[in-house]
């Protein structure tokens, strides 16, 4: 009788511990329930009032997702980022099936960048990225005090464009917040794991 009791207590302890370990070892990345279809070109235009250096910073970010070879082919590219080399003059989110990166004053104390994604039939069909010009942005190799590195935050926004949500991993580019002067122009393993886990 005593042995039986001990047996069930053991089963209970193992169940709870396994549940916790299973949950904790899951991962830090998070995914959206929707994303672009695989083999899509994410063709985008950049605001005509964004400087050439700013466009270069944006391209540095998109190259991280375009060139899996840089990460020893740890992921297979599913969406190709393509700068159309055409400029846009929009100043507000517009659902027009064109992907637009634009800058506008969004206020201090608000977000650094804001991505808006539209979805249809469970797939993302458009994504626009707003860069908040209330903050100072840097395109330099060393980010000056009080500035935010454009490539770093754009790399994060492109992760949202693809279907990556915020990660609990503080080293991941998909972490939710960024300090001024902080620079990270490459993906973390957690970001790559998230990319690979998207149900393309």
């Amino acid at each position: 009788m005593k042995q039986k009791k001990l047996f069930f207590i053991s089963i209970g302890i193992i169940s709870v511990t396994s549940l916790m370990i299973g949950g904790l070892t899951a991962h830090a990345y998070n995914l959206f329930s929707n994303h672009w279809k695989a083999s899509t070109n994410f063709n985008y235009s950049v605001g005509s009032d964004i400087s050439a250096a700013g466009v270069t910073s944006i391209t540095i970010a998109d190259n991280q997702y375009n060139n899996p070879g840089w990460y020893n082919n740890a992921f297979t590219r599913k969406v190709y980022f393509q700068n159309l080399n055409s400029s846009n003059s929009i100043k507000a989110y517009t659902q027009n099936y064109k992907n637009e990166i634009f800058k506008t004053n969004y206020g201090t104390g608000e977000s650094l960048m804001v991505t808006q994604r539209w979805n249809s039939g469970g797939n993302t069909v458009e994504a626009d990225v707003l860069i908040n010009t209330s903050y100072y942005w840097s395109n330099e190799s060393v980010c000056p005090p009080g500035n935010y590195d454009l490539s770093t935050v754009m790399l994060h926004e492109f992760g949202h464009v693809l279907g990556l949500d915020h990660s609990e991993n503080t080293k991941a580019i998909m972490r939710p917040t960024f300090k001024a002067t902080e620079m990270q122009r490459t993906l973390d393993k957690d970001d790559i794991n998230g990319y690979n886990a998207i149900n393309w």
Partner: protein, 212 residues
């Protein structure tokens, strides 16, 4: 033989429950597929910056969460949203104590997210979430976002997204704790941190020229 059977049972239980834990965790956060998603990358704001750069800091209680509405002129869902069309939800907060600035007894805090009576849901991952009755400390700024199309002044925004809202928990004054998305600390400690920084000059330098 019996030992083998028991070991097998233990192992199976561990594997099954571990898998359930893994899948259960991963299934969290699923959301409506055709909603409009707004994703914010927030500047990391500590209590010092929140205190110095917010216009109003209050301790209060959520009184009412209003119905979500579109910010269009007729409040109707647009066929194809443009020009910062979005859904907003206003939250009425009863003010118990003004820690910085001046305030009415009741204020309105606006969140750009929600599901209006028509149109798709707007899900915004950087916004604070509110529940009726909760006791909170809020770091507030005027709404300078372009979503505030008419430049209305009758409401506030939480500074730094969900970083500017602390939930007060616990029974007595001394043991009360405050939590936000990133941290948990003693209420009195937070109030002292605010006191130390609220009159400092603003720490975020505004890019007036908007150069990029």
């Amino acid at each position: 033989m019996r030992n083998k059977k028991t070991s097998f049972l233990f192992l199976s239980t561990a594997i099954i429950m571990g898998t359930i834990g893994f899948l259960g965790y991963n299934a969290l956060g699923t959301s409506p597929k055709d909603a409009i998603f707004i994703h914010q990358s927030l500047p990391k704001l500590d209590t010092s910056i929140l205190s110095s750069d917010s216009d109003l800091i209050v301790r209060g209680q959520v009184k009412e969460i209003m119905d979500a509405e579109w910010n269009t002129i007729d409040k109707k869902a647009p066929i194809e949203p443009s020009g910062f069309d979005v859904v907003y939800t206003d939250v009425k907060v009863g003010v118990k104590e003004v820690i910085k600035g001046s305030s009415d007894n009741e204020i309105v805090v606006r969140v750009y997210a929600g599901k209006a009576s028509e149109g798709v849901e707007v899900i915004n991952d950087g916004e604070s979430s509110f529940e009726n009755g909760e006791e909170i400390i809020l770091f507030l700024i005027p709404d300078r976002t372009p979503f505030n199309k008419e430049n209305e002044h009758g409401h506030y925004r939480v500074m730094g997204g969900y970083q500017g809202k602390y939930l007060i928990e616990g029974q007595t004054g001394l043991s009360k704790q405050v939590t936000n998305q990133f941290e948990n600390k003693n209420l009195n400690y937070l109030l002292q941190e605010i006191e130390n920084s609220k009159y400092k000059p603003k720490q975020i330098i505004e890019n007036i020229e908007g150069k990029l």
